[in-house]
Amino acid sequence: MSLTRRAIVKLASAAVLSAPIAKGFAQEDDEEAYFAGTVQDNGYVYRRTNMDRIDPIWRKQLVNYVHNEQPGTIVVDTKAHFLYVAFENNTALRYGVGVGKEGFKWYGRAQVERKAIWPGWTPPPEMLARRPDLPHHMNGGPDNPLGPRAMYLYRDGHDLDYRLHGTVEPWSIGSDVSSGCIRLLPEHVIDLFQRTPVGTKVLVLEHLA
């Protein structure tokens, strides 16, 4: 039996980047409600998020946020499911995020050392051992679970395996998911990418939970 590309994608995102929920037809309909058309971007197309379906607290917004960070710094609050870009005068731009297992495994200070448009995805060896049916590498594109952008965190030149990336599952924003790192809506991860030069500081807050 040979798997179609879409089937592989479904398997990959179901196994790797989403909460383990059995999906029925009703749920598929619910999922469709999260999308509203498509957007052309760098040679690919992503599904536009229906922002009316997203809880207002997860939408991008300017907030008062007391911080000691230099402007431009990204602060990730995994517990509250928020990502902030620190601005001057104790304000910040806030985005809602979904946090995967990988997103909880580390906290502290890092910097964005690499950025990618339509990133490819290579499942880590331990995941391949568990799920030999997964592809060894997925090229970037509309079905890739990382979505349209990724930013890779390093510390002292060392890849932390900690990434800020997009998602193809907008309903997962604001929740803890089985895998992945810090995922944002496609519109939001593109916006964040635009505001984040290589070298940007990132602070992942300690999570006592």
Partner: protein
């Protein structure tokens, strides 16, 4: 009552100590601040008036970034400027001051020139996307200490300082 409170306090401290020891085992980091969603709505929150300065800051973005000693616009910068040009075409009442900046490396004079090249590159790009040149003014701040995002001897500061900021003005200074 007072005693049970004290006991509770001791128990809490013990739990906190146990947690901090457990965490010390899994990450040898400087302790960053504890997680707390300690923010409040600023400005208009979700009801940002279309065409306002806040709309421009939140939904378009004022800054583009450059690499060291370069005034070249990369694809990321162009994508932001495309959005700026579209927004400025929708709201023609605004004039714009493009402010160019440099990081702290190099002489004051060099950085003043570099900041100007950056501001002019942004202005020229906006003009190429249909914003009338008469609405635009380019100005350099070089590496002026009071206009730095932050000063430090590290790429995290340099990368934020190598920038051009598109500032909306209703009256352009003369």
């Amino acid at each position: 009552m007072g005693r049970s409170k004290r006991e509770l306090g001791t128990a809490t401290r013990l739990i906190a100590l146990a947690l901090s020891l457990a965490l010390a085992g899994c990450a040898s980091e400087l302790a960053p601040p504890k997680s707390a969603a300690n923010d409040t709505a600023a400005g208009a929150g979700l009801d940002v008036p279309p065409g306002s300065n806040e709309d421009f800051i939140v939904n378009v973005g004022r800054r583009v970034f450059f690499t060291e000693n370069s005034a070249a616009l990369d694809d990321t910068a162009k994508a932001t400027l495309d959005n700026q040009a579209a927004w400025l075409s929708n709201y023609p009442a605004y004039k714009v001051k493009v402010e160019g900046f440099a990081d702290e490396k190099g002489s004051t004079q060099f950085n003043m020139q570099l900041g100007m090249k950056r501001a002019e590159a942004v202005a020229a790009y906006l003009v190429s996307k249909g914003v009338p040149a008469a609405r635009l003014k380019a100005k350099s701040f070089g590496n002026a200490p009071n206009r730095k995002v932050k000063a430090c001897d590290d790429i995290s500061c340099w990368s934020q300082n190598r920038r051009a900021v598109t500032v909306l003005v209703t009256d352009v200074e003369t």
